[in-house]
Structures are given as structure tokens and as C-alpha cells.
């Protein structure tokens, strides 16, 4: 089972993706406790703010998109933990064009 955090936006528009495969984590149980607390379906829409980050967080079958200022409480804990456990992959925000 994977947890992924994609961060886009920011003044640079640079997208980063962090992924953790829970099956390879030594403390899988504590991850599951944390994931159990995530209010996947209770993220209110937030007006976009110029140059702030946007987080798309996935853990099958769940997915949620959060404005940076909504990443608090268990969301923040999850994001920080995923970031601490993996190296970010840089991903294009759209389809790459041949040049």
C-alpha cells in the first residue's frame, strides 16, 4: 500500500511527489493509526491563494486536494512523515512536450 503526496503550485510552479510504500515500512502499524485519523472526505473547498502550494494526497481508495493552509493536524503529520521517509521525485505538471 502506497501513500503519495504531490505538491504543486508555489511561485516556481515546480511539482514534487513523495511516495512511501507502507509494506516496506518497519512501523506499519503506526502508519495505519495515523491514516485512520485522516478526514479524507471532510476537506472544504478553499479559494486559491497566489503562489501557495497545493497538496494532492493519495492512499487508495482515498484522495484529497488541500490548500497549504489546510494542511494541519493529522494531515500535517501525514505530509511531514511522508516527506521525512522519502526523497522527492520531480514531476512535470502536465504532459511533457517533445522539443
Amino acid at each position: 500500500m502506497d501513500v503519495s503526496v504531490s505538491r504543486s503550485g508555489g511561485i516556481g510552479g515546480l511539482r514534487l511527489v513523495w511516495e512511501v510504500d507502507l509494506d516496506r515500512e518497519p512501523d506499519r502499524e503506526s502508519w495505519e493509526v495515523l491514516l485512520h485519523d485522516i478526514p479524507w472526505d471532510e476537506v472544504p473547498p478553499a479559494p486559491p491563494e497566489p503562489d501557495r502550494f497545493i497538496y494532492r494526497i493519495r492512499c487508495e481508495p482515498h484522495e484529497a486536494t488541500l490548500a497549504e493552509r489546510q494542511v494541519t493536524g493529522p494531515w500535517r503529520e501525514l505530509v511531514d512523515r511522508v516527506r521525512a521517509r522519502s526523497e522527492p521525485r520531480r514531476a512535470a505538471s502536465g504532459p511533457r512536450r517533445a522539443r
Binding site: S8, G9, G10, I11, G13, P48, S93
Partner: protein, 358 residues
């Protein structure tokens, strides 16, 4: 900075400055008054308490060395994500020795000066609202943003980004988000969002050019030059003139900005690619400015500012409508057959955007 004083100030502007600038711009008023001694017809207008008839349409853009009156407040978040942080430098206080604090202070001053001197706009709201900024936000925080009240700057991670206050175009970019919010309020999503980004890049680049006294040919047209560490193969975050060429790095990848409407990027990320698709109008602006030559804030800057503040842009304005409004603003200011209006039309054509008839 005194080098330009005599070269670029037409007499009618001197008259206007001498007549209206006494209190707020004592240096400019004094300089204008001295110059006017040698210019009898304009002096007579002034003696009658009038502006010359042709002075009304063109706001003073002159005397880049003349001060404006910003009210700056720089706070220090000290590595936390708590805003506003501790107030560390207010208007008129001496440099603190903290580079981020002093760079933000100076950059906001430069941006205020351009908006005030060139476009006649005093601060973000046009009525002198304080310019508030927070620096040292977050832990190795790789970003700068406008939160509706203040500009916020991170220090960068030290590996890719070396801090966000050391680029004047970034500071101007953030302050311009405030101006857009108070004027056209372009919705930060899809094409109107890319235009919002574009407007911030335009004024960010213009502040840098105005402060350095660069004409369009000498300008870099880069946004965020100097914010990457030396380890990054790249010049800046974006190139307005050559979108897609700002960096090409093993870690960062290649600058993904499109330079032509045919390459518009549809994506769910980044509010619909607002930082990507801004490359298209950015290139149009830089192409027109470099085709015209001279100081970009004098012609293209005025056209874009007039467009932004015309009251004619809907919050969801798209590229074609925006292009049409810039052609209209150019025609109103410079004439439908002027080289300025032609340059604007040709630049939009070059990036594949046909201006809507408005």
C-alpha cells in the same frame, strides 16, 4: 541615478511635477522648477496655474531617483510558520544587517516607487496602504507568496533555492499580486489564473528594469534570477522572452513553460498550470517591449497597467479577451495606427493568440 534627470524629462512633465509634486516629491519638484527656468512657454502655463494641455494624458514617469512614500513593515517569522512574526524593521529605520529583512525592505521600496512614479499608484490599494512582509518563514521553506495581507518569503532549502528575497523581480511579483487582487481580481485558475501570474511577472520584471535603469534590450526578462544556488543549472525560475529555457537541470528537469498557445498545458496541478501557461502572454509582452525598444515601463508597462485597471476585465478573463483589451488600451493611449499598438498586435500573433474585438 542622476544620470537620467536631464535626458528623459520633457518640459511639460517638468511643469506638471513642479506644479503638483511639491509636498510628496520635494526633490522632483525642486529639480523640475530649476529646469523650468529655461523653458518659457511651459513656465507661463505654470504661472497661470495650469498644466499644458498635452500633459494631462501622460502621468509622470520620470526621475527614478525621486523618492516615493512607502510605509514598509518587515517582520521575522524566525523559522516558524506563524504570521506575521516579530516586527523587525519599520519605515525609516536603518538596515538591520539581516540580508532577508533588508532585501525585502529595499525591494518593496523599489516596487512602491515604480508603481507610484510611473503609474501614479500609491501602494497596493492606491491609497498608501502599508506594505507588510514576513521573511524567514518556515523551515528551509522553498517559496514566496501573497496571502491577501502580506508578502511572505522563505529562506529556501539551501540546495536548490538560496532564498527568495534576493531577486527584486520576485518581490515585485508578490506585491503585484496584491495590486491585481485590488483591481481586476483575476481568478487564480486556468487562463485567468495564468493571466494573474503573467501580470505579476510583468510588473516584477519592470521593477527590476526600472530600478536598474535598463531598457528593453538590456533587460534579462528573467523572473527570479539569483534565487537558485550555484548547484543548479539554470538562470532563473522563468524567462519571459524565451519561456521554457530558464533552467535545464539534472534535479529540477527542464523549464516546462510553453511559449505559444498551441502548446497550452491542460493540467489539474498548479490551479490549472497557472505558472506554466503564463509563459504565453509573458512572451507576447517581452516581444512587443523589445520590438519597441526604450524603457518598457514607458510604453508596454502603461498599456498593461491601463488594461489591468480599466474595469473592463471580468474575473474569468481568458487570453483572447485580455489580448483584445491590451490592443484597446494601446490604441487609446498611443493611437490605433501607432507603432505601440502594432507591436502589441504582432506580439499576440507571434504567440498564437488572436485578440478578441472589444
Amino acid at each position: 541615478m542622476t544620470r537620467m534627470r536631464h535626458a528623459i524629462v520633457p518640459p511639460y512633465l517638468l511643469a506638471r511635477i513642479a506644479a503638483v509634486a511639491d509636498e510628496r516629491y520635494p526633490i522632483a519638484a525642486d529639480a523640475a522648477r530649476r529646469s523650468l527656468v529655461r523653458d518659457a512657454p511651459v513656465r507661463e502655463w505654470r504661472l497661470r496655474g495650469e498644466l499644458p494641455p498635452f500633459a494631462h494624458d501622460r502621468l509622470p514617469s520620470v526621475l527614478p531617483d525621486a523618492p516615493s512614500s512607502p510605509d514598509r513593515r518587515i517582520s521575522d517569522a524566525q523559522g516558524s510558520e506563524t504570521l506575521p512574526g516579530r516586527l523587525v524593521r519599520r519605515e525609516g529605520q536603518p538596515a538591520t544587517g539581516d540580508d532577508a529583512v533588508d532585501e525585502a525592505y529595499d525591494g518593496l521600496g523599489d516596487t512602491h516607487r515604480m508603481f507610484d512614479r510611473v503609474f501614479g499608484r500609491d501602494s497596493i490599494d492606491g491609497t498608501g496602504m502599508p506594505l507588510e512582509a514576513t521573511v524567514h518563514y518556515g523551515d528551509r521553506y522553498d517559496n514566496a507568496f501573497w496571502d491577501g495581507e502580506r508578502m511572505v518569503f522563505g529562506d529556501g532549502d539551501g540546495e536548490i533555492f538560496s532564498g527568495f528575497t534576493n531577486s527584486i523581480s520576485v518581490i515585485g511579483h508578490e506585491l503585484a499580486h496584491g495590486v491585481t487582487e485590488r483591481t481586476a481580481n483575476l481568478r487564480y485558475q486556468g487562463q485567468s489564473g495564468a493571466l494573474n501570474e503573467h501580470v505579476s511577472d510583468v510588473f516584477g520584471a519592470l521593477v527590476e528594469q526600472y530600478t536598474l535603469g535598463q531598457d528593453a534590450g538590456a533587460a534579462t526578462w528573467l523572473i527570479g534570477e539569483g534565487i537558485f544556488t550555484d548547484a543548479v543549472e539554470g538562470r532563473a525560475l522563468r524567462s519571459m522572452l524565451e519561456p521554457g529555457t530558464a533552467y535545464d537541470d539534472d534535479v529540477l528537469g527542464r523549464d516546462p513553460q510553453p511559449a505559444h498557445y498551441d502548446d497550452y498545458i491542460q493540467t489539474r496541478e498548479d490551479n490549472g498550470g497557472v505558472h506554466l501557461n503564463s509563459g504565453i502572454p509573458n512572451r507576447a509582452f517581452a516581444l512587443a517591449a523589445t520590438a519597441l525598444g526604450g524603457f518598457a515601463w514607458e510604453h508596454m508597462g502603461r498599456i498593461w497597467y491601463a488594461t489591468l485597471t480599466s474595469g473592463r476585465l471580468a474575473v474569468d478573463t481568458g487570453f483572447h479577451r485580455f489580448a483584445g483589451e491590451t490592443v484597446r488600451a494601446a490604441s487609446e493611449r498611443f493611437g490605433a495606427d501607432s507603432r505601440e499598438t502594432r507591436a502589441v498586435r504582432e506580439a499576440w500573433a507571434a504567440v498564437g493568440v488572436a485578440p478578441e474585438e472589444v
